[in-house]
Symmetry: C2
Subunit: 87 residues, 2 copies
């Protein structure tokens, strides 16, 4: 499946969450990651994130695209980091 992940977590936990997400996905920019991921790795990712975040304060959104990659990604404004592995 193809996954788009957006996180919003407390400053103290950003480093840890970034590190976990980078193990499984490509960093688009800022709080956004994306990439192909297997069901097994998606489970692992969620398990690790669940331990890293404070569920009462933080949030992580997963968009799951089963059939296809999205058609297009456009970015307006500055590029705040990101892995640039594809496009």
């Amino acid at each position: 499946m193809f996954l788009i992940l957006v996180y919003d977590v407390g400053e103290k936990r950003v480093g840890k969450v970034l590190k976990i997400c980078r193990k499984y996905l490509n960093w688009v920019q800022n709080s956004v990651f994306e990439g192909e991921i297997s069901d097994a790795n998606f489970k692992k990712l969620k398990f690790e994130l669940k331990k890293a975040i404070v569920e009462e304060e933080d949030s992580v959104i997963f968009y799951i695209l089963r059939t296809t990659k999205y058609s297009e990604r456009q970015i307006m404004g500055i590029k705040k980091g990101g892995d640039d592995i594809f496009i």
Copy 2:
């Protein structure tokens, strides 16, 4: 087309950006919006955002899904607002 929008803008401009995005899309939570949008409205949205943000400091990411809505959205952690129009 179906659009997922993620913004990251300076605090001073959040209100304005939120207001613009809400005109065209549904607020999922925090800095994430989504929804069906026509080509014409997508152009309008981008035009308005371009005027509202500081391109050297802010960023907006658009994921464009031409053929279909995403398969699934999962949220981990708290729900920080959002319109809840669908799902």
